[in-house]
Symmetry: C2
């Protein structure tokens, strides 16, 4: 660890902070055309000043991707982040206005400071720090900064395909890394995918008196019978062919579980459940949480759902299902397998209505970008970081990283009190400056051949 880096960052704290605040002052809330355009223009100017070649990749009916490249070398590194932010309301719950960045008790409060302006600003400051301390950047650093992350990145996948050659790099830095509740630095190497869908069954053309139940098909029962063929009471997904597509967990991925803190009793107490599904132990629970696909009833609606009683035979029943995906189970595959499974059992009348979908992403824990990120974290933060080979939730990582053959790792400025998507979003200033130091060292190590 080169002390010159820490020293340089320390000497430029005020300047870096002022620039981060400037970025946070622009109210670039998703789908707000003007501030998003202002933010993109600001970023273009700022990246050019950092010596990048900057272009806009246009997005139909959406804010452009800001694409910037700098440096030369054997290796290349792609950085993903986004310049749109969540809406700030309810405004009355903020202690200072969301778009008037304010420092209090060592923290910077502003909408978007943790998600995700702190990330891209730290990366800009890192390449400038690198140059100031060492001279030329030793690798090709590529910024991909989108403006639609908070509304589900609807244009990301086709755009990544179209620009595959420019995007493809030797590793990818994702957004949203940082400290967990125990102050351990944490990496995520992947996310589950998702296929959200609705199943709908129909009976008579209107709700009928339930006296007709012996003769008129009941769509709620149809859905119950159909659903029952999808998952058994032991919570196993039994859709024909489904499990064959679930890639086996590698011994390396399995071993990672041992190093991940997981307090099952604390979670069970918080949720008020006496045990996890099937009475599994903590290690198995963590394993399933990170690695298992799911088929979840998120909502079920049919017939009379108010208080009281009504003797009605429903005309329609619908269920919202959320499939969380793992490699190599793709979203399209889930729809195909489900349709075939239902048809094979005579449920041809049950309609499948696909909703949003994202593919699963899981990086190789032994990839150079992951190993380097962990090594550098050990040195900069002074402890063994926690590495999650995957995450129970979903995000748009796949099309930009694994889908192009890259491994990705989260790096960032968050901590447990960050209030992401909530009032009083903030980051700790020290986390921001340490992240710059971390990134400079990461670039240096990753570039070494």
């Amino acid at each position: 660890m080169d002390e010159r880096i820490r020293q340089y960052v320390n000497e430029h704290r005020n300047e870096f902070l002022a620039e981060l605040m400037e970025a946070c002052r622009i109210p670039s809330v998703s789908e707000q055309e003007e501030p998003l355009a202002e933010m993109a223009a600001w970023l273009q100017a700022r990246l050019e000043r950092a010596g990048c070649d900057v272009t806009y990749w246009p997005v139909e009916d959406g804010p452009p991707i800001v694409w910037a490249e700098a440096g030369e070398g054997e290796r290349s590194l792609l950085s993903y982040s986004h310049y749109d932010v969540q809406p700030a309301d309810p405004l009355e719950l903020w202690d200072s206005p969301p778009f008037e960045p304010t420092v209090r008790e060592g923290k910077l409060f502003a909408r978007g400071v943790s998600d995700d302006k702190g990330d891209f600003m730290a990366r800009i400051h890192a390449i400038e720090t690198y140059r100031a301390v060492y001279g030329d950047l030793p690798l090709r650093f590529k910024f991909f900064i989108e403006g639609e992350e908070e509304v589900g990145s609807p244009h990301l996948a086709p755009l990544a395909q179209a620009h595959a050659d420019e995007l493809r790099s030797d590793g990818c830095l994702w957004e949203s890394g940082g400290f967990d509740a125990n102050e351990r630095y944490t990496f995520y190497l992947g996310v589950k995918g998702i296929q959200y869908l609705e199943l709908r069954a129909r009976g008579a053309n209107t709700d009928l008196h339930s006296a007709y139940a012996p003769i008129v098909p009941n769509p709620a029962w149809r859905l119950v019978w159909a659903l029952n063929t999808l998952k058994d009471p032991d919570d196993r997904i039994i859709i024909d062919g489904f499990q064959e597509h679930v890639r086996a967990i590698t011994p390396v991925e399995e071993a990672y579980l041992d190093a991940i803190p997981f307090d099952g009793d604390k979670l069970k107490a918080a949720w008020g459940v006496s045990e996890f599904i099937g009475g599994i132990d903590d290690r198995e629970a963590l394993k399933r949480f990170l690695y298992s696909p799911t088929c979840t009833i998120c909502g079920f609606r049919s017939g009379f759902i108010e208080e009281g009683q009504k003797t009605v035979l429903p005309s329609e029943a619908s269920v919202k299902l959320d499939f969380r995906l793992v490699p190599d189970l793709t979203a399209d595959l889930v729809i195909q397998l489900l349709r075939a499974h239902l048809d094979r059992r005579g449920f041809t009348d049950i309609e499948i209505i696909p909703r949003s979908a994202m593919e699963a992403a899981r990086s190789n824990p032994e990839a150079r970008i992951v190993q380097t990120a962990v090594e550098v974290a050990r040195e900069v933060y002074g402890h063994e970081p926690v590495v999650y080979p995957s995450h129970g939730g979903s995000g748009p990582m796949y099309p930009l990283a694994q889908g192009l053959g890259m491994d990705a790792v989260t790096v960032g400025v968050i901590y447990s009190g960050v209030n992401m998507h909530a009032p009083n979003e903030n980051i700790r200033l020290e986390d921001y400056f340490r992240n710059i130091v971390y990134l400079v060292e990461l670039i240096r190590r990753f570039a070494q051949v």
Copy 2:
């Protein structure tokens, strides 16, 4: 058929009509204390004028039963009817005010005229006509007139038990008989019972992010799995022991099906269904409609039920089930069988919340009261009446009739345009007068030894 009866009724049309209108002028809407009391007092006076011994049977927190008896003889006949009526709103849809009885085009319009004031007034006029033509009443005629029918007769069953000796008779005349859409006079000899209940499953103490689905039990899935054990995809109720309690249909009951008009194609077209459950034919459909118990999902609610998508793991799921009962399947038995069935399969966590219940009632088609009712209908109405040994719906017949060892048959003044429970409720005047003639002859024949 004695022409003197027709003649007497004809001569007293205006008087009978005026009295019926007087009864309909009292706005005895269910749960309206004052008008109900006024109605009961009016009935008491009127029944005393008809030579009855009249008493009130008090009901806790409710309007009293008006109990009246007249006549002497070997046989006795119980008459069930009620003096409360449905609320009249929406008032703006009435062509004349609901409590200002109005004659138009041979019909009398008023709230309650068909349900059920026409019934008890015709019976009062019938015993007076009998006496005028023949002298003393040849049997003991007993009026049981309650004031809570439109709110589910909540006090009927215990009251019937308490007064079993007074109530028990050689037959029972129920309310609501009359002409079907094809102008055929129609009798119902029974109703299905009902046990309405809710099943409820609980998971975590709050809705969770669906990322936790691999480890936290999902109450919606619990309910799906539990429900699936209650009824199979061929619509057979497979609750342990349930079918053993379903009394076999007798050859006589089976034979009655042949005489009941049932146009399956017309119903299917009206409801927009291509076939009945399991593709059954009309005869089987009618048989199940009248004789099969049911287990119907009337409502299912869990998690996110609005438009759109939300990745949520529900904390609660509930389903409303309506069991229609047939002899000898009692309401209590359904609860017991269901509890044992669920427990045996590990669904001890699923709560059963019983709602309203009524027992099944089915008279013996060969009972004297039924045979006599049919015979007299043939003569008075000049065609073969339609006899339904049961009904697809439910009603409070059991505690007052079969529960006391009596057979009951519907007799009344309705026709297909009666608008029961709706604006412009009415009866046809001719139906009212013919019903008096019918009742006199029924009393005469039923009394013959």
